[in-house]
């Protein structure tokens, strides 16, 4: 078998392919006796292998430069015809096998074929070199038709036995070989050929042999494909990446010929994580890899590392990228053509030629380095991607190690900071996650030990810049949390069904910091334990914002709305409002004042982009509808009224007030622009078609109607001991709230820590009296978005968000 190979260039068509090129090695009986030894098995694999064997002969003709088209047809009876336009099998008396035609030798003698002579075919696939004679031996019948040197010859076989002499049946101008065969049903356990399986291999062959046209037609279903790729393995890589986003726009492609070995590599990274490297030796898919693959891998990692280090692109990496990092998202095709391939491994699909490793390595080292230098933009993208892969790997490893080290896996030991409950039934158990040690202490004392557990989390504060602090959960705290929950964490260990509590309640302060910590925890649950949220196990405690003491009786109020409601109830008990039209008291007063509160709240909402005093004047004094903007005279009249209103109620506006009328061509109308100052900064309030037709304005008008029913101000407000005069409904409200607060002690809780254990139990933990907010997935999504803002990739929205939240909390401080 070992022959020296002539040293001509590969693409020169080689010596003559004649009858003397064929040597005889063996007979066919053995093949029928033990088919598995020759074609792998007698099942699906072996059946399709028959087709590949015949096709490979045609592809070998193409490799040698004599064939441009191969056609495969699956017939209705699962027989197959493979036709090529190669030179045609040599016909005529065989030079060494006495009395036999060369066609019969090729078709019936094992290991007979031009490829063992190395001169007719310098390289060939021909799987394991068993040749077409195996196919013949394993076919019920096989027919070969040869067009060669102007003549057409035919021969027929049954289970490998020639049925006649090779006969000339006609003349032709074409050339080529047509082989038809029907796999022997007495040998194969299956007979159905799979169109897709064959198509995949034929597509592969078309990629590997650029410009070779391979078609397949299935007569059973009329399906057909035609494969022809001008780009060869570059097209192959593009095909692999067809559904992905490519990183380097065009596949990188190298080709080299050295020591009779032809090497071709195409590769392209995509934005995914899979590594897809296809390797071939002489067109055979080397599934098990081999020396070409190992040479490629080591050169790839080394070359990219060298480039990145030279250009200082990986300064921040704590560890050098591994080969796997470098190959993340890589699609590559490596094709080598070797004169004497050695196949090893379980399925004989591992290339063994040791000299190939060095050749591939050398080529990739040289050519990839050049490519990187010449394509700096693409090179940087690739290097950045590999850096990301490395960071991701290190982060995941760190997570694994931290969790293992801190003993989350050891579920027998619960963290010391956890005050667990007595019951072991998760359905009954509650876990309060409490911000801060002091609140945690109160919660531990105040809870119902039977089914309420408490885990205090303190977080850690970092001084980032001079006056800027950041808070985080320490890794120890996160591990403690995971241990307390009992779910484990990470792909292998996380078991949400083992959670020890079916109510997990976040209890944080009602201030900005508290809401940030809550966001942090919500985000953690949403990202790492989403099932707990999906099952409805996660809740937010509602600690009260106020404690009101009246006649030595304590009442807890959860927010400003509750506080106002409480005060309005007092007013309803003891106040009367006298208006020009009527006298109101009790429930009617409460109704009226609720509307005033709503009115103020709506004005407040509008104040972000407008001066609320201008809007108030508009609503309270003027009658401006969208139509009014069309009528200059009417408009002027209404503006006069607004002015008078401002003079009476908000005279401080006037010194800075400037009013403009502008055109609104879109509505063929005017619009009014008021410029004022709010807290020293200029504010522009636009009254235009859009605003006057907005639902917000309409709601204000509805509220105004309710106020108008009272008649013109001033009003008299009579309390038990005194009477005051009010110039507007707002003043009625102010007077009422001031009166209602007499004799009350209102305490605003700044944090959970201000409550003692009994208070915490009474207000927030006692299942009979508390309210809990159940966290839904949607809330959690929002949390994650807020969290992303807090993480501050976009600096501006982050600042806005923090300022807005800070503002809201200030407003609560009445």
């Amino acid at each position: 078998m070992e022959k020296t190979v002539p040293t001509e260039a590969l693409d020169t068509p080689a010596a003559e392919y004649t009858a003397s090129s064929i040597t005889v090695l063996d007979g066919l009986e053995a093949v029928r006796k033990r088919p598995g030894m020759y074609i792998g098995d007698t099942n699906v694999y072996g059946l399709h292998h028959l087709v590949y064997e015949v096709v490979d002969n045609s592809v070998d003709e193409a490799l040698a430069g004599f064939c441009t088209e191969v056609e495969v047809v699956i017939h209705v009876d699962n027989s197959v015809t493979v036709t090529d336009n190669g030179r045609g099998i040599p016909v005529g008396p065989h030079p060494t096998v006495k009395g036999m035609d060369t066609v019969d030798v090729v078709m019936t003698k094992l290991h007979a074929g031009g490829k063992f002579e190395n001169s007719a075919y310098k390289v060939s696939g021909g799987l394991h070199g068993v040749g077409v004679s195996c196919v013949n031996a394993l076919s019920e019948w096989l027919e070969v038709e040869i067009q060669r040197e102007g003549k057409v010859y035919r021969q027929r076989y049954a289970r490998g036995v020639p049925q006649q002499q090779v006969a000339q049946i006609g003349v032709t101008e074409k050339r080529g070989t047509k082989v038809s065969f029907k796999p022997d049903t007495s040998i194969f356990e299956v007979t159905e050929l799979n169109f897709d399986t064959l198509s995949q291999r034929l597509r592969e062959l078309a990629f590997l042999n650029a410009t070779l046209k391979i078609s397949i037609t299935d007569e059973r279903t009329s399906k057909s494909h035609e494969f022809k790729f001008e780009g060869g393995i570059v097209s192959f890589v593009e095909y692999l990446n067809r559904a992905k986003e490519a990183l380097n726009e065009k596949p990188i492609y190298f080709r080299a010929i050295k020591d009779q070995v032809e090497l071709e590599i195409a590769m392209q990274w995509n934005d995914g994580y899979d590594e897809r490297i296809f390797t071939f030796a002489n067109n055979i898919n080397t599934h098990e890899g081999g020396t070409h693959l190992s040479g490629f891998k080591s050169a790839l990692t080394r070359t990219i590392n060298t480039y990145a280090e030279k250009n200082q692109l990986w300064k921040d990496l704590k560890e050098a990228p591994t080969g796997e990092d470098a190959r993340e998202g890589l699609a590559a095709v490596i094709s080598v053509k070797v004169p004497n391939p050695q196949f090893e491994g379980q399925t004989k699909t591992k290339l063994g030629n040791s000299e190939i490793k060095g050749l591939v390595e050398q080529m990739v080292n040289e050519q990839l380095a050049i490519w990187l230098e010449e394509n700096p933009n693409n090179a940087r993208k690739i290097v950045a991607k590999i850096g990301d892969a490395t960071r991701a790997r290190l982060a995941a490893r760190k997570a694994r190690e931290t969790v293992r080290r801190k003993g989350v896996l050891d579920s027998g030991s619960l963290p010391g900071k956890l005050a667990d409950c007595q019951t072991r039934d998760p359905k009954e158990s509650e876990l309060y996650i409490v911000e801060g040690d002091s609140a945690g202490g109160s919660a531990k004392q105040g809870r119902d030990r039977r089914n309420q557990a408490v885990l205090p989390l303190r977080g850690k504060i970092l001084n980032v810049e001079k006056a800027r602090f950041e808070k985080m959960l320490t890794s120890a705290e996160i591990v403690t949390l995971i241990t307390a929950l009992g779910t484990g964490i990470g792909k292998e260990e996380y078991k949400p069904q083992e959670v020890r509590y079916h109510r997990i309640i976040l209890m944080t302060d009602a201030d900005v910091d508290g809401s940030h910590i809550r966001t942090l925890l919500l985000t953690f649950f949403f990202r790492q334990m989403p099932e707990l949220i999906g099952n409805g196990f996660l809740y937010i405690a509602q600690p009260p914002l106020y404690k009101v003491t009246r006649n030595k009786k304590d009442t807890y109020l959860k927010d400003d709305e509750a506080k106002n409601e409480y005060l309005l109830n007092i007013t309803a008990e003891r106040a009367k409002v006298l208006t020009p039209k009527k006298e109101i008291s009790g429930g009617e007063i409460r109704e009226l004042l609720r509307k005033v509160i709503t009115y103020k709240a709506r004005l407040d909402k509008l104040s972000a982009r407008r001066d609320p005093r201008i809007i108030d004047a508009l609503v309270q004094s003027a009658r401006i509808e969208t139509d009014t903007l069309l009528n200059l005279e009417a408009l002027n009249g209404e503006v006069e009224k607004m002015h008078a209103h401002l003079e009476a109620r908000s005279p401080e506006v006037l010194p800075h007030l400037k009013m403009f009328r502008k055109d609104d061509p879109e509505h063929q109308a005017k619009k009014l622009v008021f410029r004022t100052e709010v807290n020293g900064s200029p504010k522009e309030t636009v009254l235009d078609h859009a605003f006057l037709s907005s639902p917000e304005y309409r709601e204000l008008l509805l509220l105004r109607e309710a106020f108008e029913a009272l008649g013109e101000a001033p009003y008299k407000v009579k309390f038990e001991e005194q009477q005051v005069e009010a110039a507007s409904v707002q003043q009625v409200l102010d007077a009422a709230l001031a009166d209602a607060q007499k004799g009350l002690n209102i305490q605003r809780y700044k944090g959970l820590g201000e409550m003692n254990p009994e208070q915490l139990w009474d207000t927030t933990m006692d299942p009979a009296r508390r309210t809990l907010l159940q966290v839904k997935v949607d809330d959690a999504v929002e949390s994650d978005e807020i969290f992303s803002l807090l993480m501050g990739e976009a600096v501006e929205p982050r600042r806005e968000f923090i300022e807005k939240n800070a503002l809201e909390v200030q407003n609560l401080d009445i």
């Binding site: 994580y273 997570a399 964490i489 990202r527 820590g753």
Partner: protein, 68 residues
């Protein structure tokens, strides 16, 4: 805000929750990276200003005076 949900780590669009066992991530890899960030103490939220901080530090020791 980008249209549709995106993976918090790699920012690629992610499939809806019903079709994606790794939600809200694009895959298990990004979830693992996220876990690494939590355990690496890389997620932080703003925590007030220096002045507020000084107010808060003494609190935990004695606790507030009860009003009851």
């Amino acid at each position: 805000m980008p249209l549709g949900p995106r993976c918090p780590i790699c920012k690629k669009p992610v499939l809806a929750r019903s079709k994606n066992p790794s939600y809200p991530f694009c895959g298990d890899r990004c979830r693992a990276v996220d876990l690494g960030m939590w355990l690496g103490e890389e997620y932080r939220v703003p925590a007030g200003s220096a002045d507020e901080q000084e107010d808060e530090v003494p609190l935990p020791k004695d606790g507030p005076e009860g009003d009851a």
